[in-house]
């Protein structure tokens, strides 16, 4: 199942923020940074399961709301020296609309 699912218009995701998308595979956090780049990660911090969508977004990173672990949005990997990785999903922008792909 590698379909592109329509999520919402770009404006519905705050700049340097995120929205939660509830899917059958669990919550996915869709992030938007200052340059309007989009990223999607499983909404679960590898540290203690905190909701990444609630964190502070900066550059291409997010700092988890619970304990401040910082993840790279493009890979989902925790920033060194921490380790751990959140599952990454594909996301794209098409004519101002955000699409998410839950496939591998």
């Amino acid at each position: 199942m590698s379909e592109w699912l329509k999520i919402c218009p770009l404006e519905d995701i705050p700049r340097l923020g995120a929205r939660v998308v509830r899917t059958a595979q669990g919550d996915v956090a869709v992030f938007r940074n200052a340059e309007d780049e989009l990223f999607a990660l499983a909404d679960q911090c590898p540290h203690r399961g905190g909701p990444l969508s609630q964190g502070i977004v900066f550059d291409r990173r997010v700092s988890c709301a619970l304990h401040g672990l910082t993840l790279n949005l493009d890979s989902g990997a925790a920033q060194a020296p921490d380790d751990g990785c959140a599952k990454k999903y594909r996301v794209r922008l098409d004519k101002g609309v955000v699409f998410l792909n839950l496939g591998a």
Binding site: P14, G17, V20, R22, G49
Partner: protein
Amino acid sequence: MRRMKLVMVGNGMAGVRTLEELLKLAPDLYDITVFGAETAPNYNRILLSPVLAGEQKFAQIILNDRAWYETRGISLHLGTAVTNIDRRARQVRAADGTVAPYDRLLFATGSIPIRLPIPGAELPGVLAYRDIADTEAMIAAAATHRHAVVIGGGLLGLEAANGLKARGMEVTVVHLAPWLMERQLDATAAGLLQTALEQRGLRFILGRETRELVRGGKKSGGRVAAVRLDDGSELPAELVVMAVGIRPNDALARESGLFCERGIVVNDTMMSYDPRIYAVGECVAHRGVAYGLVAPLFEQAKVCANHLAEFGIARYLGSTPSTKLKVTGIDVFSAGEFMGDSQTDDIVLLDKKGGVYKKLVLKDGKLVGAVLVGDTVDSSWYFQLLKDGKPVSEYRERLMFGQSGLGNTGHQGKNRAAELPDDFEVCGCNGVCKGTIVKTIKDRGLFTLEEVRQHTKASSSCGSCTGLVEQILASVVGGAYQPVLNSVKPMCRCTDYAHEDVRRAIRENRLMSIPEAMRFLEWRTPNGCASCRPALNYYLVCAWPHEYHDDAQSRFINERAHANIQKDGSFSVVPRIHGGVTTPAQLRRIAEVAEKYAVPTVKITGGQRIDLLGVKKDDLPKVWADLDMPSGFAYGKSIRTVKTCVGSEWCRFGVQDSTRLGIELEHALDRMWAPHKVKLAVSGCPRNCAEATIKDVGVVGVDSGWEIYVAGNGGIKAEVAQFLAKVKTGQEVLEFTGAFLQLYREEARYLDRSVHWVQRVGLDYVKGRVVEDAASRQALFGRLQEALRDQPDPWAEQVRTDSAEFRAIQLDSCQAEGNRDERMAENLPS
């Protein structure tokens, strides 16, 4: 743009640290070339002693391996001494013929050991103790020979002697002065140290000079065989280590015509007399001083990097060096003017049998020197007091008993960092044990608290174990440990500016948004980080309460969602109940909401409020709408609660109406953002049932009026609030309290509790602004009232605007691009 060329001569700790700092500031400014005379990459020279003693391997003390240089594009020439510097052509020439042109040249040539000009000094088996080659030669000699003589009973000599002894040699130390380490210790301390070392089997000959090193017979292959002293006596020695001192390695600089005294002369920016040439480390003479210890060199590195990066704002003003002996099991520390004289006030503790000696030297009520033998647990604290130059007279009689003697209840009796077992949990927040911290420091070559925080997470949450972590760091890296001085600490790694600089810039230049502030202050990162953005947002809120457009994305989730996030991602809701006084109608409504939304836990909080725990984020706006009560701000760096006792209205002991004053205060301060949370309490009599003396502001009613206490804290480390003023009326309480909190809002650093801020600026300063100067007090209170005027209730605001923040996007697995139109309709806000 063409990149400038930076050439560094020397590849030691000071130089490479300069490069590290430079790359942090300006990663793309230079093409960098490094020449190192040694064949090894940069290693931690101060840990050569543990290598010699067999406690660590050389690989463990390497700080920057070849890959480090490669990944940063630094061209590295190891084992390549520079032979000539042509300052006119701006190029250096190395022994192997390499020529490297430069725009900036950095001297980091270090020092060279002094060799005594005595007969036999050139014999095989005679070594200095300076680098890994010397160390390896000593290790090799220890394996095949029996007798060693170390000339020089200073820091390095003793570490060498100890290491050789640990490798099985019979070691004698010959020292010219009447006692060991005479430049760092007084006679008593040196005596204890000598006894401790003698118990390990070392021998000492003091007050004697070495005259000659005697060559052995044919069988020895011409190797040294004995040391002859000035009294004619001879000591057998197949290994002689000269550890009589170092001198700056400035020969190359001199040849190139640079002005040198005892070292390359530099100014406070680490620039030599040639503006293209900088110098750092042991080769430097700064204000007439050549430093031989690591901590000052790192400070120099930081300053030098700042100027190489063309920031041009740092100055090196000299350092107060301290010394720690790195001989396992023998703790010696010394700093400052440790000798004492007729002008000083010396406090001495001597326990000969126990091997403990402590001497603190005070002058004009300040600590100016310290010597510690046998128990150096408090050395970093003393050293900090010494460098800060703060008056210590207030606790003079307890000074000797260390930081724990001052009632640091957080770790009382547990701060003997070096003695703690490896499985001792240092950081309770992140579950980090001492062993992990020590191992990480060693394996990764860490030097600063910040690095330890990054790599281990210890001390990175509540910070109450910071002191302990610093002590562990100091005990592992010894003299290389650099305590961070509060006064110069940048806000975060996105900038070099301190909090105070940033606030001033925002005010003076009327900066009105986070991007504007970042541009003006030349932030290094495109949009800051999770640490500086909330701080900037607060500083802007505080500076321009009505003009600034609050940036929700720069607030932590709690303030963005106006509720407190819980470990499972749900939230807690605490409505405002002024003074903790509620009504049956309010309680009924809260009960109904709790049932309607199936709130799992309803709890009375420590601040006399009602907490609904476990509310889903999507439900928050509905819960608020149904409650129809204002937000209690239980989630914010803001006014939290004003706790009250019953007071004179009902209580048979009450002398003042504390409940009413508490309610008035809470109304007056409603919706006040602050650097950190702010808690108040009002008690109606000195029995103080509202526990006012552990609050940011505590008010206690007495018969004739109210006493106001400030800067208390009941958190990680309990702090009793300090008396600010006594006033007659409730109106005065409002004014004094408001003025105090406004001063805190305007001048404290983000995330400073009031206690930390008052500790830093001093209560006298606060009294000067709030109590003694009525005009200043009224102005402060006026600014607070102006800031709080017409601030909307965030819950009502949220219910009104219905922002997307609280709505998740529902998606079923079967939905695909095909039926996009229905999905869009569903997801779009109406």
